[in-house]
């Protein structure tokens, strides 16, 4: 979240789209009810289904799954055409005036530089024009036809309300009602928040959907403001912490990135990630990358990371490609992997195309499961009748089950969607032989290190030199790990302005990432978490609810990264002269008397940079401003464009009816064999989407009796019209099939799913909750991901769980 949960109460308009907060985030949803009750906020829900969130909405609009870019693109067009944008905000705080290279173009569904053979773009032309001074050229009058504003206007002018209706199936008047309500927040005194979740992420165009939403919010001037922002509601406890700590295959802690295989030169690796400002007077905070990186390597390798060995740069793996989950299971399926660790992970249920996942697991020599529960994955080799119809005799994979503790059985910090690190305390001892994850990992590491010591190996240094100074080497404690990611001084630290003033003694915990150095004198395991456990104690354990500004920022509650800041980009909550846009919503502002930024939140800015210096609020971007034009950072183009899901119920992209190659995302990666496994509307005519129910959490709670009682049996949701067509009554057993397999479930026949008119066709949706499987105390059922396609977003490779095709028949 750019903002955080309790901040939702400050909103005037709440848009829930690509998510179902009431269903999947009931506790967080209370802030929506708070905004409605105390702030007269209006709630809008846009979803293929009339959801539990929609039940409390002031306005609901239906949309066909996978068409959110068309809808939001229509909103952008509506805002620009109707002059409902916060012009002062976008002129000062975004790249609207930047000039783009002449090579950049968009025609017939492709951006310039497309290679259809490789399904990839050459992105060299997707750049700004640079002047002789080395800075980006701009036109503050916004008249130059190559400025971002004019390119943006032209790009989105095609998204008319008629086109929205044609693609999304949203009735024109409903769309316009939504657009008008959103537009009402373009004035400085009104703010909208957008809440989304995996309903946006899990599409082959997921990242671009979210970008489109960010553009809407920038046009309305709603980023950096209390009650505003683009807010990802994270779906697993601590999944925010997972990305923060860099557990994705191409990341290092704190959103630093692993080098690619060609990046063998250390200085070039750093320079690429520490960009110089693109406009005069901008901060470009990532210029500090070297400090964060060296401190990380000192935390990991201690004395073995030296200036002479480039801080152990050679120890880091260099990626030939990303190893996202789809890539890994593709390799496994090709028989190129020997073993797999599933740590707190149930891939048989969680990944698309269960048949492929099962075949892939069957090719492994060994599979290790670290989990508190007996997951389906741990028994993928067992025959469970129709639910898992495999022949154990043909599967030779050895499965090891290592029982772990669950979150309630250990101390530690969990990072919530709002970036708060909240310390929690163990509620009970773990049963049986369960061990904590660190204890298991430490045990493995110590044995591996012993083997490398004894037997050597091709390159044992990264293992042998790993710093491991824990009190109990076989059991690193949560406190030790927390202090490690906070960081400490390795040598005495002196004030930069007054070298005689000692700031930190060697060995002391750091106050925050501003104290990090690139000379090896500081260590820090995750720079954005620095400040979480200082010499003053565990900041994450703080529980002060004091809210002196009555805006829910509660700076004394836990610790929010970065630097205990609650709302990101909050400099943008003040106008260019440093005064709050809205006197009722005072966040941070320039105090001329003190010559610094002050306020109710920790300023997200250089504290002493006066407004007249002209520094932009988006300090992490080398531009200093927010980007509408993504340059080369997105794989399918600098502007979002509507592409159909890979399985489309209409078989064409109404934006580009004459280009069959621009139906679905041209830059999405599709493995051989998976393209063939896609179905078409001829055999599978209905648009399907998967989701959670509030009664369950993923595949865990079917193991819990109370949850099983409240939602015992697998079902699918079908609209009354489709049910009537198929002769299906509520409570009937139905068979739902895709080109990859079938499931059987009880039919919930509902008024809440209506057929939509899309491009001259009637499109029915089938809603498929995902919680069931062949283990647990709930009624056993089929694995929903039997049905879903093995393709992901072109940037993140998050699978397209939310849009695919099925057929439905009475079982």
């Amino acid at each position: 979240m750019t903002n955080h949960w309790s901040d939702i109460k400050n909103a005037d308009v709440v848009l829930i789209m690509g998510g179902n907060a009431a269903e999947a985030h009931p506790c967080g949803f209370k802030w929506v009810t708070e905004a409605k009750a105390k702030n007269k906020a209006r709630l809008i829900v846009v979803d293929p289904r009339f959801t539990r969130s929609a039940a409390l909405a002031d306005l609901y609009a239906p949309i066909r799954t996978g068409t959110d870019i068309a809808f939001l693109g229509g909103v952008i067009n509506y805002l620009i055409a109707g002059n409902k944008v916060h012009m002062d905000y976008i002129k000062s705080y975004t790249d609207m005036s930047y000039l783009v290279k002449d090579e950049f173009a968009f025609a017939d569904g492709f951006f310039s530089g497309y290679d259809a053979e490789k399904r990839k773009y050459d992105k060299a032309g997707w750049e700004y024009q640079t002047g002789e001074d080395g800075y980006v050229k701009t036109d503050p009058t916004l008249e130059n036809p190559r400025c971002v504003w004019n390119l943006l206007k032209a790009h989105f002018a095609r998204y008319t309300p008629e086109m929205v209706e044609k693609i999304c199936g949203t009735p024109r008047d409903k769309f316009l009602q939504v657009a008008e309500m959103l537009a009402s927040t373009h004035t400085p005194d009104r703010v909208m928040t957008i809440l989304y979740a995996l309903g946006w992420t899990q599409h082959s165009t997921g990242s671009q959907i979210i970008r489109t939403a960010a553009m809407v919010q920038l046009l309305l001037g709603n980023i950096g403001r209390a009650g505003g922002g683009v807010n990802a509601l994270r779906g697993h406890s601590n999944i925010q912490g997972l990305t923060d700590l860099g557990l994705l295959s191409n990341l290092l802690p704190g959103y630093m990135t692993l080098p690619g295989e060609k990046e063998t030169d250390y200085d070039a690796y750093i320079a690429k990630r520490a960009p110089k400002p693109m406009r005069p007077g901008q901060l470009s905070y990532w210029q500090n990358y070297g400090k964060f990186h060296v401190s990380l390597m000192k935390a990991w390798y201690g004395a073995a990371a030296t200036k002479d060995n480039n801080w152990a740069f050679d120890y880091l793996p260099k990626l030939d490609k990303t190893y996202d989950v789809l890539q890994v299971f593709e390799l496994m399926h090709q028989g190129k992997m020997t073993g797999y660790f599933a740590q707190g992970f149930n891939p048989l249920n969680s990944f698309p195309n269960k048949a492929k996942v099962s075949a892939a697991l069957s090719k492994l020599k060994f599979l290790v499961i670290m989990d508190p529960l007996a997951t389906e994955t741990s028994e993928f080799w067992q025959n469970h009748g129709e639910f898992n119809d495999v022949d154990p005799a043909k599967i030779q994979t050895t499965v090891f089950r290592l029982p772990t503790t669950c979150f309630a059985e250990e101390d530690g910090a969990i990072v919530n969607s709002g970036r708060w690190l909240q310390w929690h305390w163990k509620g009970a001892d773990a049963p049986g032989e369960a061990k904590t994850d660190p204890e298991i990992m430490a045990g493995l590491f110590l044995r591996l290190r012993e083997m490398y010591k004894k037997d050597g190996g091709a390159f044992p240094d990264p293992i042998l030199n790993l710093a491991w100074a824990y009190k109990l080497p076989h059991e690193p404690s949560p406190e030790e790990l927390a202090k490690e990611y906070n960081g400490k001084a390795l040598a005495d630290q002196f004030d930069a302005k007054d070298p005689t003033k000692l700031v930190k003694k060697a060995g002391e915990l750091l106050d925050g990432f501003a104290q990090l150095k690139d000379d090896g004198s500081t260590a820090c395991g995750c720079w954005i978490f620095s400040g979480a456990w200082t010499e003053k104690g565990n900041m994450m354990a703080r529980r002060d609810t004091a809210d002196p500004w009555h805006n829910g920022q509660t700076l004394g509650w836990a610790f929010a990264w970065p630097a205990n800041r609650r709302i990101l980009y909050n400099r943008a909550a003040a106008d260019p002269s440093g005064k709050p846009w809205d006197a009722k919503r005072k966040q941070v502002w320039w105090d001329a008397a003190q010559s610094k930024w002050v306020g109710s939140d920790v300023p997200d800015f250089k504290a002493d940079s006066a407004p007249e210096d002209g520094m932009g609020p988006f300090i992490m971007n080398p531009e200093g401003v927010a980007r509408f034009f993504a340059r080369g950072m997105m794989n399918e183009g600098p502007f979002p464009e509507h592409y159909e899901p890979f399985e489309t119920p209409i078989g064409t992209n109404p934006m580009h009816p004459n280009n069959p190659k621009a139906i679905s995302n041209p830059a999405a990666r599709v493995f051989k064999g998976d393209m063939e496994a896609f179905g078409t509307a001829k055999d599978f005519p209905y648009a399907a989407t998967t989701y959670r129910l509030t009664e369950h959490f993923h595949y865990w709670t079917k193991h819990v009796e109370s949850n099983a009682i409240t939602q015992p049996e697998q079902f699918v949701e079908i609209g009354e019209a489709l049910a009537a067509e198929k002769g299906i009554k509520a409570g009937d057993k139905v068979k739902v099939s895709s080109n990859r397999g079938y499931i059987k479930a009880v039919a919930v026949v509902t008024k809440r799913i209506k057929p939509l008119q899309v491009d001259g066709k009637t499109v029915h949706h089938v809603g498929i909750p995902l919680h069931w499987g062949f283990k647990g105390v709930a009624k056993n059922g089929f694995i929903t991901n039997t049905l879903t396609p093995f393709v992901g977003d072109a940037n993140t490779q998050t699978p397209e769980f939310k849009s695919f095709l099925v057929n439905v028949e009475k079982a």
Binding site: K40, A55, A708, G731, V748
Partner: protein, 298 residues
């Protein structure tokens, strides 16, 4: 269960005075359906606090589960998909359970001394140790709430967490409700809160928003804020004007005082028989009379 800290206002089938020395505040639970997302956290909290576990059931083609109240499920969410011309589709979700009537039909109908009691704070509670399993409370309830256990033939329903309230805690469902849809406090405070909510809902376009605190049962200690207070039946058949069955009223309001005065001894001989003999046998005459009346109602 007997709670020493709560004074008793009424007891079923009991002629002696109830204790009245202590003064307790009249309480109420307010369920604001306009804030309810139907998450069933209240159902689970009820199960966990009261140590109840219903069967793992089946899906009958709706979100409702368990499908109805049972001796193990004292509250259930009911989901109604309603389409009106005025507002289009609405999903009206209501937490169903005992309403804790000021004038409880169950208590009036109950022939077992002390099996149903009403505390001075308004909570209506079943004391299963005194229950004879006759099922009159079921007939007497205008909201169709009590359920007879197949295991022990006792009647069960929501206690409004009388055990928690007795020690100054809110009911378990109130404690867990994530959206603040359920509130608990003095009845007066809850009426005031409801008035605020109704104003807010009217501003939002629900012209007929209102408080459900039906007079036919003397008001209730579980109240609803409804977006459509003019049509309670939209909410899975919430009765528009609940009243206690005339039979029960007759039997308690007219017949009992008469009996007490000894002016109809012959007609009500059975009642004396029952009072003298104790709680385990119900007068055949009364039983027959009530059943006849209820039969007539159907």
């Amino acid at each position: 269960m007997a709670l020493q800290s709560l004074d008793i206002a009424k007891r079923s089938a009991t002629t002696t005075e109830s204790p009245q020395a202590r003064k307790t505040l009249e309480v109420a639970k307010l369920i604001d359906v306009s804030k309810c997302i139907g998450c069933k956290a209240c159902q689970v909290a009820c199960m966990q606090w009261n140590d109840l576990r219903d069967e793992v059931g089946t899906c009958a083609g709706t979100y409702d589960n368990p499908r109805d109240m049972t001796d193990q499920s004292w509250t259930v969410m009911r989901y109604a998909e309603v389409e009106t011309e005025e507002r289009g589709l609405e999903w009206l979700i209501r937490k169903d359970g005992c309403m804790h009537c000021e004038d409880p039909g169950c208590l009036k109908a109950c022939p077992a001394p002390g099996a149903i009691i009403k505390y001075a704070n308004g909570i209506v509670d079943f004391h299963q140790e005194n229950c004879i399993g006759c099922g009159y409370c079921v007939s007497g309830c205008p909201f169709n709430v009590p359920r007879i256990s197949q295991k022990d033939s006792k009647a069960y329903k929501c206690t409004l967490c009388s055990d928690r309230v007795a020690v100054g805690l809110e009911p378990a469902c109130v404690k867990v409700c994530p959206t603040g849809s359920i509130s608990f406090g003095s009845k007066v405070d809850m009426q005031e809160l409801a008035a605020e909510r109704v104003t807010e809902l009217k501003e939002r376009g629900f012209k007929n928003a209102g408080l459900y605190d039906p007079a036919g049962v003397g008001g209730t200690h579980v109240m609803y804020v409804l977006n459509h207070a003019d049509k309670p039946a939209l909410y899975s058949g919430l009765p528009a004007d609940p009243t206690i069955a005339p039979t029960v009223t007759l039997w308690k309001s007219v017949a009992k005082p008469l009996a007490m005065a000894g002016m109809a001894a012959a007609a009500l001989g059975g009642l004396f028989h029952y009072v003298m003999k104790g709680p385990n046998e119900v007068s055949k005459e009364i039983e027959a009379e009530v059943e006849r009346e209820l039969e007539g109602e159907k």
